[in-house]
Subunit: 342 residues, 3 copies
């Protein structure tokens, strides 16, 4: 695809070659994301960071990526926006914002609304999540993490065993992830969830049609067996009809050091889109994984900056101008961002 | 007037020569507003964007204008500000902020409070709306739109027939607009509204004293007859005593293509301060006007950036320094911001 | 101490030499804080301004200090942050943010939480208040104000009589202030408060152990007698069990011109951390002190910018690079920020 001026709305719009191009660009952006170098390539440009549903993490990640390149960011958070209550259409909001900024990141609580937003503007729109729909940049940074952790370019990855664990029914993150991983070569998917929370059939079918193996199981031990990659997800409690229904599943797929080391390959690594539920009893990662070299969750979050920088420079057509504005960083940057980083 | 260091509080402070000066400056800022060029003339300067009442659109427009010139923006939105609850006076808030920023944009839900804010500081304050009071920059960008759409410098405009339609009683926007248009030469105003929502008498009187014709009517057909400019406004439902009272008037002055083309001059154009109510049954612009070349509402919103840039460079005394910092824009900018733009 | 890469969490971490170093740096930053010069020394750097409890004033002061040096600021305000509700730990929030920004300012409603935040990251964290705990940068700017008002370097100050008036029990500001002033030479503290709101014994003891005189009194007249410095504080109404209990004390220690001039030394000055309660009947500063040359409260607020700039350049290790990027300011800056400034 031609990235310049394009929207980033769904994983479906990408071929493997497009993903490779994004990742090559992300690799070039890494020194800037890690603050080894700085650039002002977007000095004077504006990002409209429009979150009709609050999400501090995603909002910060997009904004930081843009500001690291010299651009300025306008934030809007849902509870402030009153124009919809006054009857304004998404079309009008989108078109008016287009006169103010150069690119928009949009999160909306309803499926399809980000597409509607994009159809009303000629400036690039990046989908940062539309309800239970998609969150394509999360899937891209997840796959970029797989490339980095396996030290294998995405188009050379082959035959990985990928366990995806947790609430696979409600998580848009894992849905987008399966779609983007389906572009790779002969994977071996293991979907680990209670039957009621299993991966939707159309996604399992899609993976099989593309030549991947797919197994589903309720057993964590069985599902993790021989994994190269383990991807956990948060129980989306807010998507259940009742708190009682959500509570039934809490903690049933917590991953601890014992099961991880016993079942997965020695080179395996553990991913999670965050936030993870760290309260006792939650269906998440056990504290005894803290500081484990296989725990890739913070490297994964860090990768979001480079991948989002790549998307910005691609849709704004400045990927080739980054180098010419690069400078050294003069302020203190720690070698590792966290005390437990390995 | 001498702009440098001045507050922008009310339309009453301007002579026609001042308006002309603002518009000449706005024209020079257009390439920057339209992202054909960029400037860092305000690099290092700070705007305090203080919205004691939320308004995403105005907040973004001022901020984008400031950031496009290299300045940084501090946003404060009403529901965050707790110091008033702790008994802080407007004087103290204003004086403390003056130590932090170089210019302040202030919106407040109560009439007169922005003036009070301005009286406590020596840095320029721009009124972005004080309850049912004024919103002078909206009136300026509206009149600038008339200059651009008619291709006639504001001090050469003469004899235009201007229809103002909708809720003329509660709208501070149309009140400020009548005041600023009263500076022009022999206009022919047509105020179209139900009797209960007509233009306040003092504004109609003001226009007549300045030599303009004024007619009032409840009939949309009659009111639009022979118009050069049609200005619609939103029904300010939140200003009515009850929802039932507001509902009586919904949709009674919707402008559609049929009435617009039948009654207005062929060169007429249609303005609206936005947001417009796009729900069925609203007293606003009919969807069949979408894409019509006469629909100027988005060009009008876009004009806000150039006009606000002009005000910032004038009150901060840097109008003559813009050129020397100008550079080409290197990132992708679409030829038209919206797919329906003509 | 070695500032580069360090957290600023508590006054206890400083020796007098450290305070002197901060103040020397603050003096060098003053031309930038007062907008006589500008610098881009932090161009490309990001501040995470994380307020888990809203505070417009502190949030703006830190952000303005950072933006005046060319850095960009990401703001997060408490009511937006939903990840904690999803069970995210402070550790995870802190570590993820560390991948996005270069330094974090954190305010949290609970004692100790900012320390917990700091323990999870290798980037510098500055405490902007943790419940009833500390607010060290406020204490530093307060003491810097004493240095400036007395025109005496902090390590040469000796024997000052310091009256601290108001709610001394609940105010973390005055607690931190006593701690930092205890580093000075033989002060004469006068704690003026109703018995129920007096300074905690451990702080009075600390001051005495360090060689200072300490007197406590319920009498405002007696307490102010012979003062060089008068420091008032807001009644922290939100920290009382009931509104009725808070109301008992309202207005009992209002300082007016009469008592101030009658009891304090002619060279005395009056400080307050702001916001001050300006409603009639409040326990604060009387309106007849407005415009009095001794009223230092706005100079004190202004000083926050230079002190916070100093802390940023010290923890980020760029104090020596400020000069090389300095430029003249080209826009309008008033000689005095407020009309009543002297």
């Amino acid at each position: 695809m031609n990235f310049t001026g394009s929207h980033i709305l769904t994983i479906d719009q990408f071929q493997l070659a497009d993903v490779r191009r994004i990742f090559e660009t992300a690799e070039r952006m890494e020194p800037f994301a890690l603050r080894k170098r700085r650039t002002q390539v977007l000095q004077g440009a504006l990002l409209g960071n429009l979150f009709f549903e609050a999400s501090t993490r995603s909002r910060f990640s997009f904004a930081a990526a843009f500001e690291r390149m010299g651009g300025a960011v306008r934030d809007m958070i849902g509870f402030e926006h009153t124009s919809f209550q006054k009857g304004e259409s998404i079309h009008d909001t989108s078109r008016v914002m287009s006169g103010y900024v150069d690119v928009m990141v949009v999160r909306h609580p309803e499926v399809g609304k980000v597409h509607e937003f994009a159809s009303a503007t000629n400036i690039p729109v990046i989908n940062s999540g539309d309800g239970t729909g998609e969150h394509p940049t999360q899937a891209l940074l997840d796959l970029y993490t797989v490339q980095k952790e396996t030290k294998t370019p995405v188009d050379k990855i082959k035959g990985l065993r990928v366990a995806i664990v947790g609430d696979l029914r409600h998580g848009r993150t894992v849905h987008s992830l399966v779609k983007v991983m389906a572009l790779l070569d002969r994977l071996d998917f293991s979907f680990v969830a209670p039957d009621a929370l299993q991966m939707p059939a159309e996604l399992a079918d899609l993976a099989q049609e593309r030549g991947h193996k797919v197994a589903m199981t309720e057993s964590l031990d069985e599902g993790l067996e021989g994994s190269d990659v383990v991807y956990c997800t948060r129980l989306q409690e807010e998507r259940f009809a009742t708190a009682a229904e959500a509570a039934r599943y809490r903690g049933s797929y917590a991953i601890n050091r014992d099961v991880f080391e016993r079942r997965c390959k020695p080179t395996a690594f553990l991913m999670h889109p965050l936030p993870r539920d760290s309260r006792s009893g939650a269906m998440e990662i056990s504290p005894d994984m803290d500081g484990h070299p296989a725990l890739a969750v913070f490297r994964q979050a860090d990768n979001g900056i480079a991948v989002r920088m790549a998307l910005f420079v691609l849709v704004l057509g400045v990927a080739d101008k980054v180098e010419s504005t690069a400078q050294e960083v003069g302020w203190y940057v720690p070698k590792k961002f966290g005390p437990k980083d390995v």
